[in-house]
């Protein structure tokens, strides 16, 4: 069961957070939920073995509360998001600009996730956004929201205030979809379909994190074959994502042949997933209590395809990592210092490349992972785009290693049961999974057999804020490399 601690006032929450973080636990998120017209603030704290929820309550008439960001800087974006969604202001927050939904401070209608009511329509109000800095020698270079290429929409504003270091302003609200409210009132079994569409390039990881939360509530353990199948799709998803990052880095460097090669490999991975699952993104497979079906391809055929793929990827990855002009472009680009990565709790490859190795598969193992043998990981602490790419290649190699074991074991399955019943009447729990982007958390509350509140916390949301900090050199030429090396999805940020 998820540890849930009611702390009453925000000040107590702040103290308890400080105590736990000092004790080595990790701040993993902060979200709000409507609670009888007031707001329940919940901090997610990761420790070995569990993610705890620490609650504080704001009364119904509270317009503000003492900000947590001054003592927990990693809460910076979380408090801005809460401000957008609930209209309560964190007093003492260093830069309370709108993040996911710009509305004027006076606007009383907010989405208020967790509330029974759902607003009909809310239009982002550009007046709520801060004006661009203007003045002699000061200019702002907008980058987006309409990007030059096939990208998700997001706006990066580069403010260059005279001689100072340029400041990057990240605007993600353009593609806010109101996902959190959409989860509400759904039958738990339907919610997984929505979870698959929160951050579509990590559909499997999101479905897993969501289902893990429900399974913890129901006290349900998926049948062994289902646990294996889950790992199968999660690792294929990881390979596809890392190939995508490599492809985009090669593209930024103008290596057309490398782009074509990795594009081809990525297509083969998606086709393999499609042949196994009936969907190129592995959608529709993970369900509460297990999986919907066994892979449609026999172990021998799957293994042959995996081996061929790995051989091809290995050769091309080695070639890429031996292209010195390419390495020069990545080395020292977009550096994230190790102390910043640790302080923020940077996730996934971004954290691992800066010496902060947290991985939900190791820290809080789930499904078949505990029984699968993984080779010890190499440590990196350069923190640049190159280190991030090296982490990805290591992970790809590890994924193939895991996949071979999974396929091997699936060969021995005699009982074809892939789903255990999941009956959830009510309760709260946190589920997790390691997406290609890093740890995904789902804080789920079920009331009367329906989803009452569902907060997906993607690694993309947690990591993207670090993008502010990684520009030390030429912001414009480094930009595409830094962006590709982070490998995040805006869909998972703006929800």
């Amino acid at each position: 069961m998820t540890e849930i601690v009611g702390l009453g006032e925000v000040a107590s929450l702040r103290d308890e957070l400080a105590r736990r973080l000092a004790g080595g636990q990790r701040f993993a998120g902060l979200y709000g939920a409507d609670h009888d017209g007031g707001v329940r603030l919940t901090a997610l704290v990761a420790a070995d073995g569990d993610v705890a929820e620490l609650d504080a309550d704001l009364p119904a008439d509270a317009a503000a509360y003492p900000a947590l960001t001054p003592s927990v800087p990693a809460a910076f974006w979380y408090e801005r998001e809460i401000h957008d969604l609930f209209g309560v202001a964190p007093d003492g927050h260093p830069r309370l600009d709108p993040l996911v939904l710009p509305l004027l401070q006076a606007d009383p209608v907010r989405p208020r996730p967790g509330a029974e009511k759902n607003p009909q329509r809310l239009d982002p109000d550009e007046h709520a956004l801060p004006r661009h800095v203007m003045g002699p020698g000061v200019f702002t270079i907008p980058h987006g929201p309409v990007r030059s290429g096939v990208f998700e929409s997001v706006e990066y504003l580069v403010e260059t205030p005279g001689e100072d270091i340029p400041h990057l302003n990240i605007r993600v609200f353009y593609k806010h979809r109101g996902i959190e409210k959409r989860f509400e009132h759904m039958a738990p079994a339907d919610g997984v379909l929505l979870a698959e569409r929160v951050e579509g390039i990590a559909s499997v990881a999101h479905a897993l994190a969501y289902c893990h939360a429900l399974e913890r509530l129901a006290g349900c353990v998926p049948p062994w074959p289902a646990q294996l199948v889950r790992v199968l799709y999660a690792e294929l998803e990881r390979i596809a994502n890392h190939l995508d990052a490599a492809l985009k880095l090669a593209d930024a460097a103008g290596l057309a042949v490398a782009v074509a090669r990795f594009g081809w490999h990525k297509e083969r991975v998606l086709r393999l997933v499609g042949r196994l699952a009936g969907n190129r993104f592995g959608r529709g497979v993970v369900v509460p209590g297990g999986v919907s079906r066994l892979p449609a391809l026999g172990p021998a055929a799957a293994l042959a395809e995996l081996n061929g793929l790995q051989r091809n990827i290995d050769v091309d990855a080695a070639l890429l990592m031996g292209t010195s002009s390419f390495l020069d472009r990545l080395r020292t680009t977009g550096p994230l210092p190790a102390d910043r990565a640790r302080a923020h709790g940077a996730l996934g490859p971004v954290g691992k490349a800066s010496g902060h190795a947290c991985d939900a598969r190791d820290d809080r193992p789930y499904d078949a992972y505990p029984t699968l043998g993984a080779a010890p990981r190499r440590r990196y602490d350069d923190g640049d785009a190159l280190a991030r790419l090296r982490v990805r290649w290591d992970e790809v190699r590890e994924s193939f290693h895991l996949l071979r074991q999974v396929v091997d074991q699936l060969d021995d399955i005699h009982d074809p049961t892939v789903r255990a019943p999941v009956e959830v009447a009510g309760g709260r729990a946190v589920g997790w999974a390691e997406a290609p982007q890093g740890e995904v958390l789902y804080a789920v509350q079920v009331t009367d057999g329906r989803v009452a509140r569902c907060k997906p916390r993607s690694a993309s949301f947690h990591n993207l804020v670090l993008f502010h900090e990684v520009f030390v050199g030429d912001i414009l030429t480094d930009f595409p490399f830094s962006e590709a090396s982070f490998g995040l999805s805006i869909a998972g940020v703006a929800l």
Partner: protein, 288 residues
């Protein structure tokens, strides 16, 4: 070294549409209805509830010529279908996968199966109008992609068109960064309200004639994210759409099919597509 790699592994590129490609024909991404089920009234209960997006509708007879039987009808709006497969699993006697990646249509209404009779005429008109417009375009066309609230997977499938397997350059299709050079606006995503103004600006920045493709179930109807305070429930209410492609996400072949449909460049009689014959049959009934 990279130059050398580029020549390895022979030809991976599809020859579709000139030659059939099994990956195109075997694709299934959206549900369809088997041959006009005329169900006894009791049997229709609960069918609509099977679908998480409300893509399945049930109604009393439509009063058309094929409705003499006192049955009730059931249909699928593929524009809302996210391909979860639940209906097919629960009632394989009624529902099946729509066969092939060619699922795009020239009218929103034409994504509803079985087709309503009026759709034929509308389609013919739309096809003629589109043909007049695209006549001015040369052999090479430029596509501007814009995300207006996708889940991120749609971009992967659009981008895949540039990989060596689909290699759309061979068909004279290029992606462009500037609206001023674009002939086709390829829109993905559920129609997030924050993107309404940038979408309008991009559309207005394109020269005439221009074609708009709503790529993916999200772009067609909002998919599973609809209804929501933050989206318009598809992009049809934000810009005039010419081609509608379902799929969650649409496969690369589905997107390519839509582009060629818009350009009237699919093989066979111009603009021919399944689902246009009077009986409402798809011509390619999925195998049972």
């Amino acid at each position: 070294m990279w130059v050398f790699r580029g020549l390895r592994n022979g030809v991976v590129t599809t020859r579709w549409p000139r030659r059939p490609d099994r990956y195109f024909t075997d694709w299934h991404g959206v549900a369809t209805i088997r041959d006009h089920p005329s169900l006894p009234p009791g049997d229709i209960e609960g069918l609509a509830e099977l679908c998480p997006t409300g893509a399945i509708h049930t109604a009393p007879g439509n009063g058309g010529p094929d409705d003499e039987q006192p049955g009730r009808r059931v249909g699928v709006d593929q524009g809302r279908c996210i391909g979860c497969g639940r209906c097919i699993q629960a009632r394989p006697d009624l529902f099946a996968w729509s066969a092939g990646a060619g699922v795009a249509a020239l009218a929103r209404q034409a994504l509803v199966v079985p087709a309503v009779a009026e759709t034929d005429e509308t389609l013919a008109e739309l096809r003629d109008d589109l043909r007049t417009r695209v006549r001015a375009l040369g052999r090479s066309v430029h596509v501007r992609h814009l995300d207006v609230g996708s889940d991120g997977s749609d971009e992967w499938e659009v981008l895949a068109l540039l990989n060596p397997v689909y290699d759309v350059h061979r068909l004279g299709i290029f992606f462009t960064a500037t609206p001023r050079h674009a002939d086709i606006l390829l829109v993905t995503g559920a129609g997030a309200r924050g993107m309404a103004a940038p979408l309008r600006r991009t559309y207005q920045g394109m020269p005439d004639p221009k074609v708009v493709i709503a790529a993916g179930t999200d772009a067609v109807s909002g998919g599973l994210t609809a209804p929501s305070y933050a989206i318009a429930g598809g992009v049809g209410g934000l810009v005039p759409v010419d081609v509608w492609v379902p799929g969650s996400p649409p496969s690369p072949f589905s997107v390519l099919h839509a582009i060629l449909l818009a350009l009237g460049r699919l093989p066979g009689p111009p603009g021919r597509r399944r689902r246009t014959d009077k009986t409402g049959k798809t011509g390619k009934e999925p195998r049972p």
